[in-house]
């Protein structure tokens, strides 16, 4: 009998790790969620001879909140979740300051045992050039003492370690298994609503994506991805409409022996950006290629990765280039300082703990960024107008409780900005993670050391009155966690960021076209120090108390140097 090409249709992989696995217990109703209590006491000190009689130097703030989710499983193929958030700001008695919000709601399940679907709210991720939520700058690799506060911001905005975006819409997935040549074909599709029509000039905006992943064997995989952020015609009185389709292909190959492992990972594709019926708008298309090769030697624990990439200057992928941070925001704490009540610039401290800068929606344009924090990859790997190589050397061995990585990147612009000469970018990073207690025999209590160093340089030669570009950013952070009593840790952390130099920053119009340049000059540093203690009630519950000191020095700012001392008390529980 002639065998059919595919033998059976089964569900294999649907939304991957970015959708939590369906609970295995048989309860029809269960509760899930989190609770926290957070208190900040801040004190501002300004290094100025002019006494500030306007700004209140001490600020207390905080809240207690509960995210309460009800999980309902009416049958074995369906799961419904509704989660509400109850929040009460400290000082808000008798209903004042209390908010009650629906945090998330979804229905998910399996149709006919084959197609998995999810409707409502979900987190979704595709590839690094199609749909990827890159970490925020500077603070994402901070020591644990600071990470506790950043984790709250990330949790509130559904930023997960898998770099998925929180979306609202529908997704589905299924897989086909084959008996010959190819093991499996995974099919995933998603459509989400990014913006709603106001029935005036703002149309409905949707984001749709398709991923086809062909698993040939454990040695070879290939994928096709299509995403598009687009306005739906007819949903507003605006005749013009935005469209940004991105097509990419991926290839993963791996080969391993007893002592060696080799991996190839590549993605390539193109984008088109159109504003239909808008005669003033540009019509852009561009391409990218990104390939990495890694060779690992298991005996020595050495891993060498070489990456080469080129991303065109007009490559646009809103799903991958939208930033977490909206740099047009203003800090809530001490927004204006000095007697003149000058606006305070956003700092590392604000990025660590304030929610108001963070963004949840895809933007059709390139968002503003802060060159002093990251001038090289402000939009992650998908940053347009970059080409060059990165070499990574990594040491990681199961038997040794230390991992270390050094990476060196040399990039330059594909197309100059305002001149034919491209800017050149140079980055060195070093990370070290050591569980020191494992070096001492019999010492079971944890001693965890982390080190991070980043050194960025941007250069371009000058000509005539066009100044040379020379911008440097250094970021050094170190963290130490010592478990002095069972489940009781002392936490230490320091992060120092310095930036100095000059660049021309592009001023873009609503289509992201550069129409002007502004001179950007910085000379400053920011330091964040922490000492604290944490008691772990369980893996998911802890109480933490910290003293933080933040210092900002900026030689070119009209603001004086200042420091903010912060006491933080945090109780957090997940259930």
């Amino acid at each position: 009998m002639k065998r059919t090409f595919y033998t059976r249709l089964i569900l294999v992989l649907l939304l991957g790790s970015h959708v939590s696995a369906q609970a295995q217990d048989d309860k029809k109703i269960s509760f899930t969620g989190a609770a926290r209590s957070l208190f900040y006491a801040d004190k501002l000190t300004q290094d100025t001879s002019a006494i500030d009689t306007v700004t209140i130097p001490k600020l207390n703030s905080g809240h207690v909140l509960v995210d309460l989710g009800i999980n309902i499983r009416p049958n074995k193929n369906t799961e419904i979740l509704a989660m509400v958030r109850l929040r009460n700001d400290y000082g808000g008695f008798w209903g004042s300051g209390v908010t009650f919000d629906l945090r998330q709601m979804y229905v998910k399940g399996v149709i006919g045992g084959i197609v998995k679907y999810q409707l409502g709210d979900f987190n979704y991720r595709m590839t690094r050039y199609t749909m990827w939520n890159y970490d925020q700058e500077v603070i994402s690799n901070a020591p644990l003492a600071f990470q506790q506060q950043t984790d709250l911001v990330n949790y509130d905005h559904f930023y997960n370690s898998d770099h998925s975006w929180r979306q609202q819409g529908a997704s589905l997935g299924f897989a086909l298994q084959f008996s010959r040549f190819v093991q499996e074909l995974q099919v995933n599709a998603v459509t989400t609503r990014v913006k709603t029509s106001d029935f005036g000039l703002t149309p409905d905006r949707l984001f749709s994506g398709i991923n086809l992943q062909l698993v040939q064997s454990k040695y070879l995989e290939a994928g096709f991805n299509y995403v598009n952020l687009y306005d739906v015609p007819g949903t507003s009185k605006n005749a013009s409409g935005f469209q940004n389709p991105v097509y990419t292909g991926t290839l993963q190959a791996r080969y391993e022996t007893k002592n060696w492992e080799a991996k190839l990972d590549a993605e390539f594709g193109n984008s088109k950006t159109r504003f239909k019926n808008d005669t003033l708008a540009p019509d852009w298309k561009d391409k990218f290629m990104d390939g990495s090769a890694t060779i690992s030697q298991n005996q020595t624990g050495l891993h060498v990765t070489v990456n080469a990439k080129i991303v065109g200057s007009a490559f646009r992928s809103p799903g991958a280039q939208t930033k977490r941070i909206d740099y047009n925001g203003l800090p809530q704490a001490y927004q204006r300082i000095t007697s003149n009540q000058d606006l305070r610039q956003l700092t590392m401290l604000d990025l660590m703990r304030e929610s108001s800068f963070y963004n949840l929606q895809f933007h059709p344009y390139l968002m503003d960024f802060a060159p002093r924090y990251d001038n090289i990859t402000p939009y992650g790997d998908a940053t347009p107008n970059r080409q060059g190589m990165t070499i990574k050397l990594k040491y990681a061995k199961k038997s040794i409780p230390v991992t270390a990585e050094f990476a060196h990147s040399q990039l330059q612009e594909v197309r100059g900005e305002g001149t034919l000469m491209p800017r050149k970018f140079n980055r060195n990073t070093f990370t070290l993670d050591a569980k020191l207690n494992e070096f001492f025999k019999g010492w079971k209590k944890q001693i965890h050391l982390t080190l991070n160093y980043r050194d960025d340089k941007t250069n371009r030669e000058g000509e005539d009155l066009v100044k040379a570009v020379d911008l440097k950013t250094n970021c050094l952070s170190a963290g130490l966690e010592i478990e002095v009593l069972k489940s009781f840790d002392l936490l230490f952390g320091i992060q120092q960021l310095s930036y100095k130099g000059f660049d021309y920053t592009a001023v873009r119009n609503t289509y992201s076209e550069i129409f002007n340049f502004s001179e950007y000059r910085v000379d400053g540093n920011e330091t964040l120090q922490a000492i604290g203690a944490r008691y772990r009630f369980s893996e998911k519950t802890f109480l933490s108390a910290q003293l933080n000191q933040f210092q900002s020095k900026n030689a070119l700012s009209s603001l004086p140097d200042y420091s903010i001392k912060q006491f933080m008390l945090l109780f957090q529980m997940k259930f």
Binding site: S313, N385, G416, T419, A506, F517
Partner: protein, 333 residues
């Protein structure tokens, strides 16, 4: 440190030798925005004795160290006519600085010397030159009159016997075109009408004006003048059609289209109106056409120019020059 530098040098060599950059750049030129400005080639003209009447043109040449917003002003030293050409570039040449004798502001250029001045938005430098207009530009169209030869004997004219009356051709340097214009003014306190000029087609040797039948292609143009302190004058242009082709206009059953112009802009200004935009007016208000209601410029038998004013408004004054029909577009003087 030594090894680090060596490592960086090797990587740089490998990476940047393989990187290719585009031969164009994004955004405006930084050199234009921040670079030093200097004159590379001074201002000059391709023709210094330019004969616009034969269709000759001249273009200006200059070049600078960077792209910049520039303005070229040409001023007639006798007429005061002005032509302005603007651009953003680092070079002036035939593509962006050609002058064909047209104006930006009335009056028209005549045979005269002209001063040329090149200025820049963001720089204090000014470049100057002079040239000579050997003959003025000739505009295509059917010219009713530029008053250079006085009043056409085939016209009919009438002026009230009011006070300070003027209803005649005047010679002056301040004419919109050439050296003469028709001057109208006076005080009439018993009637709206100060006077009129009737310009029948017969004055040009035909029963109707030699115009296209398509009213969307025919434009009537005239240069009119408002004295600075007087705004009470009204010019009424009437266009009578011989709908039935009997050689006479009968107001009861033939079309008369009009345009009424209230003088508002001081000095000379240009009136241009498409024939199909002319309306039937009775005492200044829209009315139903008396004839077939079809705009037929090929049946135009007479053009009337009436100068009106409110009888109680005192002295009124205007000037009239260069009445011309053009085909396809308004007059570009």
């Amino acid at each position: 440190m030594k090894y680090s530098l060596l490592f960086s040098a090797i990587i740089s060599l490998v990476v940047f030798s393989g990187c290719k950059t585009d031969d164009e750049f994004d955004g405006p030129s930084l050199n234009d925005l921040y670079g030093k400005f200097s004159i590379v080639e001074p201002l000059s003209a391709s023709v210094y004795d330019v004969d616009f009447g034969t269709g000759q043109t001249t273009f200006f040449k200059a070049s600078f160290s960077k792209n910049i917003a520039w303005k070229l002003n040409i001023t007639g030293l006798e007429s005061g006519a002005k032509k302005e050409i603007t651009g953003f570039s680092n070079v002036l040449d035939a593509t962006n600085a050609t002058w064909n004798g047209t104006i930006t502001k009335l009056p028209l250029f005549r045979i005269e010397d002209c001063a040329v001045e090149l200025t820049f938005d963001t720089e204090t430098d000014t470049l100057r030159d002079t040239l000579h207009v050997a003959s003025a530009r000739i505009n295509e169209g059917f010219l009713l009159s530029d008053f250079e030869d006085g009043v056409n004997p085939g016209w009919q004219s009438f002026a009230q016997s009011g006070a300070s009356m003027s209803f005649a051709v005047q010679t002056s340097d301040s004419a919109a075109q050439g050296a003469k214009y028709f001057d109208m003014g006076g005080v009439v306190d018993w009637d709206w009408l100060l006077g009129y000029l009737y310009l029948p087609a017969s004055a040009y040797g035909a029963t109707t004006y030699p115009l296209s039948a398509n009213p969307d292609e025919v434009f009537f143009n005239s240069m009119i003048y408002k004295s600075e302190s007087l705004s009470n004058g009204i010019l009424l242009f009437q266009f009578t059609e011989d709908d039935n082709g009997d050689g006479t206009f009968t107001s009861a059953n033939e079309d008369m289209y009009s345009i009424q112009v209230t003088l508002s802009e001081n000095g000379w200004s240009q009136l241009s109106v498409k024939y199909s935009d002319l309306a039937t007016l009775v005492n200044g208000s829209p009315a139903t056409p008396a004839g077939n209601g079809v705009h037929e410029p090929n049946k135009l038998s007479q053009v009337n120019v009436l100068f009106l004013k409110n009888p109680s408004s005192g002295y009124a004054h205007t000037r009239l020059d260069y009445l011309i029909f053009t085909q396809g577009a308004p007059l570009v003087p």
